[in-house]
């Protein structure tokens, strides 16, 4: 019994050690269920749920809405050639990569910051903050984990004209200056330059060139409320490890006309890691909003509402996202022999009821909204047809390709005829891979049944995405070694750009021993497509650019290696007895900025 007493004593001691908590909040408080505990403030975090938090305490240069319209946030207006804030300067660049310099035009973009903006610690936001970001991105021999993307390669210089104007000049034709390699002014330079009280500075020897590791700045030292400075409607006031993050109104937000004062005083992101518990918490009112859940099935087989849809005082709504699950077909040498015939690939697409699957797994209406091409809808040629569900057409295409129904057992009454065979008697059996992300395995099963109806057997494999399916050729990844026939996963596009994915669709991306990092896992290769896709990426004139895309896209389409299958919607469930859902519907935007308009949310009247 002494042992029990010792244990009891230890339990009490642990209780005392752990026993601290958040303070009670005043005013209107919204509690949002957060399904992952964040790691670090963006941009250093690996976690999407860290990045989402920035929506509360930071704003960007500009943002875009569900209609893909760009709107100004920290600048007076979005730079365009029409308003004179984008001009073009002559440059000589090796644009084709053939060693020859050619005359071209590179954009020069003027950023006019809004005047009167303050960081949450009261310091004015000026062009010095933008220049700080530029200097970090151009830092020679960086030691940190910042993702610089194209910025250092395509940006020539930045110059602060005055306290509120910065001109960014590119060194090459770069039509995506609004969405890629853009300047940011979202990091408080005064926290990084000189001695900010923590003894950290990016320029350790004072020569004007950054040489420190920004990862080690106190600003990024976990979620330290005292260190986190932002420009947004809220400030982080508490971070309780394992429990929640508490955001309260930013006292320095709302002093300008363009800053909407939030109606909600406090926002708490409560870490609830188990999906059933998230539902329970919303149902009993412990939280006010849940998001990022699988909301594609509102009812059970009898039509009764289930999950969030069945709760009283809770309304579910959805917004569009950037990810579209696609069916990818391998046309490469390691695919099943039939897959190398475009008629077969086309036939398989016609055999799959994609609109029906989208309606079933993404909600009514999703099928009608399925995209015809991988690039965003506004950049898809208008005359490109959708490959509709057509079982007879599918059978005919397979037959034309030499894969025949040798025992003539295919009919509308036979859901599982024997596999088709070719002249050598080889049965039509394909390997079909996807990842465990719900509801992909369910969709995979539906597709298997639909392919079976046209005499195609699909062996199903559900494997881990990062470590097995998407791993590189060098790491023997399934896709990049071509050891598959059909796969289902999502590859996001840039929602505002007509660019294709050079890595995934051009000939140079085909993986091999000589190109172990290649990502073109469909083995689609067409030199004319490569030429046109390249022109899209370097043409400044939007009209001309669009024409190149319209010419390139049918080539990719006709190869029948990619087809959309399910748009991935973002779902939200809100307590209607506490908050006005109509004021929140506008929150959903593309990419990860779920809460970019949080300051406009209203409590229930």
């Amino acid at each position: 019994m002494k042992f029990v007493r010792v244990l009891a004593l230890l339990a009490i001691l642990a209780l005392v050690l752990v026993g601290t908590g958040v303070r009670a909040q005043e005013g209107v408080t919204m509690i949002i269920g957060w399904e992952q505990e964040p790691d670090l403030p963006s941009p250093l975090s690996n976690s999407a749920f860290s990045a989402y938090l920035t929506n509360f305490y930071a704003r960007d240069i500009w943002g875009w809405d569900t209609e893909r319209v760009i709107h100004a946030e920290m600048v007076e207006e979005v730079p365009t050639p029409d308003n004179g804030l984008v001009t073009f300067v002559p440059v000589q660049v090796d644009i084709n990569g053939d060693g020859e310099l050619e005359d071209a035009e590179a954009p020069q973009v003027t950023y006019r910051l809004r005047q009167g903006m303050l960081w949450s610690d009261g310091t004015p936001i000026t062009s010095a903050d933008c220049m700080f970001y530029h200097n970090v991105m151009m830092q020679p021999d960086p030691l940190d984990s910042w993702q610089r993307g194209d910025y250092p390669a395509v940006v020539a210089s930045a110059e602060a004209i005055d306290d509120y104007t910065v001109v960014l000049t590119y060194n090459t034709p770069f039509p995506d200056y609004l969405t890629d390699a853009t300047l940011s002014c979202g990091f408080p330079a005064h926290k990084f330059l000189g001695d900010n009280g923590a003894g950290f500075t990016m320029d350790t020897d004072g020569d004007g060139v950054f040489d420190a590791n920004i990862d080690e700045a106190p600003y990024f030292d976990g979620f330290n409320p005292a260190e986190l400075i932002g420009y947004g409607p809220y400030v982080l006031s508490e971070y309780n490890v394992g429990a929640n993050a508490v955001f309260t109104r930013n006292p320095n937000w709302g002093i300008n006309d363009f800053e909407q004062v939030p109606a909600i005083d406090t926002i708490i992101t409560q870490f609830i890691l188990e999906s059933e518990q998230m539902q329970n918490a919303l149902e009993v009112g412990d939280i006010d909003l849940a998001f990022n859940f699988a909301g594609d099935r509102p009812t059970d087989a009898e039509g009764n509402p289930i999950g969030y849809y069945a709760m009283e005082n809770v309304e579910v709504f959805s917004t569009v996202g950037v990810f579209i699950d696609g069916i990818w077909m391998n046309s490469g040498p390691n695919a099943f022999e039939a897959m190398q015939d475009v008629r077969v690939r086309e036939g398989l697409i016609h055999a799959i009821n994609r609109r029906g699957i989208a309606d079933q797994f993404a909600g009514p209406g999703a099928g009608a909204a399925l995209t015809r091409a991988w690039v965003p809808a506004q950049f898809t040629p208008p005359d490109l047809p959708f490959r509709e569900y057509d079982v007879d057409g599918a059978r005919q295409l397979l037959t034309d390709a030499g894969w025949i129904d040798d025992d003539a057992d295919e009919s509308a009454d036979n859901p599982r005829p024997t596999p088709r065979v070719n002249a050598a008697g080889t049965p039509f059996i394909v390997r079909f891979y996807t990842t465990p992300v719900v509801p992909r395995p369910d969709i995979q099963t539906v597709i298997q049944a639909q392919l079976a109806a046209v005499g195609v057997r699909a062996q199903l494999f559900v494997v881990n995405g990062p470590t097995v399916l998407f791993a590189s050729f060098a790491e023997r990844g399934i896709l990049n070694t071509g050891e598959y026939d059909i796969a289902m996963y999502a590859l996001s596009n840039n929602p505002l750009s007509p660019n294709g994915s050079a890595d995934n669709f051009r000939c140079a991306g085909i993986p091999s021993n000589e190109n172990p990092e290649g990502r073109n896992s469909t083995w689609f290769c067409d030199p004319e497509y490569d030429r046109l896709d390249f022109l899209v990426s370097v043409t400044n004139d939007p009209t001309e650019r669009l024409q190149y895309r319209f010419a390139a896209e049918p080539i990719f389409y006709n190869a029948a290696v990619w087809s959309s299958i399910r748009p991935r919607l973002q779902y939200y469930a809100v307590r209607t007895d506490r908050f006005n859902v109509d004021s929140m519907r506008d929150m959903g935007t593309l990419s990860s900025n779920y809460f970019r308009r949080v300051e406009f949310w209203q409590p229930a009247s």
């Binding site: 408080t29 250093l44 993702q147 470590t467």
Partner: protein
């Protein structure tokens, strides 16, 4: 006994080294923690190389183990892929008290992260063991002293029910009844009906930070975990007590006129608790590992949750430290169990 303890500790060193090597090799070869960057079109090949280099992931595996053991502050590393060393590492190695930096949570040492979670897990785990041992002793002794009675049969049946249920089912049923339905009934007009919290270590709304709040949030997870342990432990106690109370020395004690209470709790329980000590000795080290499923369900911010999240991110420094801590705890508890045996049974001698 001193020599015995020292010998056992020395024997543990090669064992821990083998565990360290196996864990290290397994975690370092199972996948690439930065694989997600390959899918990110914003990240260039040079950036990937640099980030991998900074984290030491470009080094050969044996060298990575050496760095983990003795540090890499003597090692000049190439970070720009030009074949020449650029910067020295910053880690001092396990043997110099540096267990490495987490890959998942940048800028944080693995030991610091574990140090944050360990108190929460210990709180939950130790409370569960206090409840488990206390209740299972009481239930087991009662069942053994009233064998085959109606109460014994009921206890046996309930024990089997709980013993055969998975923890997640027990937890979800408890939550559904005592947290969700009771709460809905309470809000629906039954003001007198108390309800338990759905999840977390503190209330989501209107928390005051008191210990009572924390204790209230522990009720369901502790009950969920303890109910299954009690079901198993109480069967052990019952069987062991039944064997002991039918032995000769207990009959002699009865013949000498000692009270039942004295015989049961002083003479019988001491011998009957020997199997329980073994069981507890085997189980207690795993308190450190946390209750993975329970912590997940109840959003209890402990070692179990940390383990899952670190595994998802292939965060080797945290996982290796986690495994080593559990291994050390097993070795230590085995030793403690042996010593406790000698205390409970003087016939046991060490040689």
């Amino acid at each position: 006994m001193g020599k015995y303890i020292i010998r056992r500790i020395l024997q543990a060193i090669p064992l821990l080294l083998i565990i360290a090597v196996l864990t290290f090799v397994l975690l370092k070869t199972v996948g690439d923690p930065l694989q997600y960057l390959v899918e990110d079109p914003r990240v260039t090949e040079a950036e990937r190389f640099r980030l991998r280099a900074v984290l030491g992931l470009n080094d050969p595996l044996p060298l990575q183990f050496v760095h983990w053991l003795i540090g890499d502050d003597w090692y000049l590393r190439d970070i720009d892929n030009d074949g020449e060393g650029d910067v020295y590492g910053e880690r001092r190695g396990v043997l110099r008290g540096d267990f490495g930096e987490s890959i998942r949570v940048r800028n944080r040492d693995a030991i610091e992260i574990i140090g944050e979670k360990l108190p929460n897990t210990l709180l939950l785990g130790i409370t569960v063991y206090v409840v488990t041992i206390t209740v299972s002793l009481a239930v087991g002794i009662f069942a053994a002293t009233h064998p085959y009675s109606l109460a014994d049969n009921i206890i046996t049946s309930i024990s089997f029910v709980f013993f055969s249920m998975p923890i997640y089912l027990v937890a979800l049923i408890m939550i559904y009844i005592f947290a969700v339905q009771f709460r809905l009934a309470h809000d629906g007009g039954l003001d007198w009906l108390p309800y338990l919290p759905v999840q977390g270590m503190r209330p989501t709304r209107g928390a005051t930070g008191t210990l009572a709040e924390l204790a209230w949030h522990m009720v369901l997870p502790v009950f969920s975990l303890a109910s299954i342990s009690i079901a198993g432990y109480s069967r052990f106690v019952r069987a062991s007590m039944l064997e002991v109370i039918n032995s000769d020395y207990i009959r002699t004690a009865h013949a000498k006129g000692l009270s039942n209470r004295r015989i049961t709790f002083l003479h019988a329980l001491k011998n009957a608790s020997l199997p329980l000590v073994t069981l507890v000795g085997l189980d207690v080290p795993f308190i450190l590992g946390g209750a993975v499923v329970t912590e997940q369900i109840f959003s209890w911010d402990g070692m179990g949750l940390l383990f899952i999240r670190s595994l998802e991110a292939l965060d080797a420094p945290v996982l290796i430290l986690f495994t080593m801590m559990t291994a050390i705890a097993v070795v230590v508890m085995q030793l403690v169990t042996d010593v406790t045996y000698a205390w409970l049974d003087p016939r046991v001698r060490f040689s």
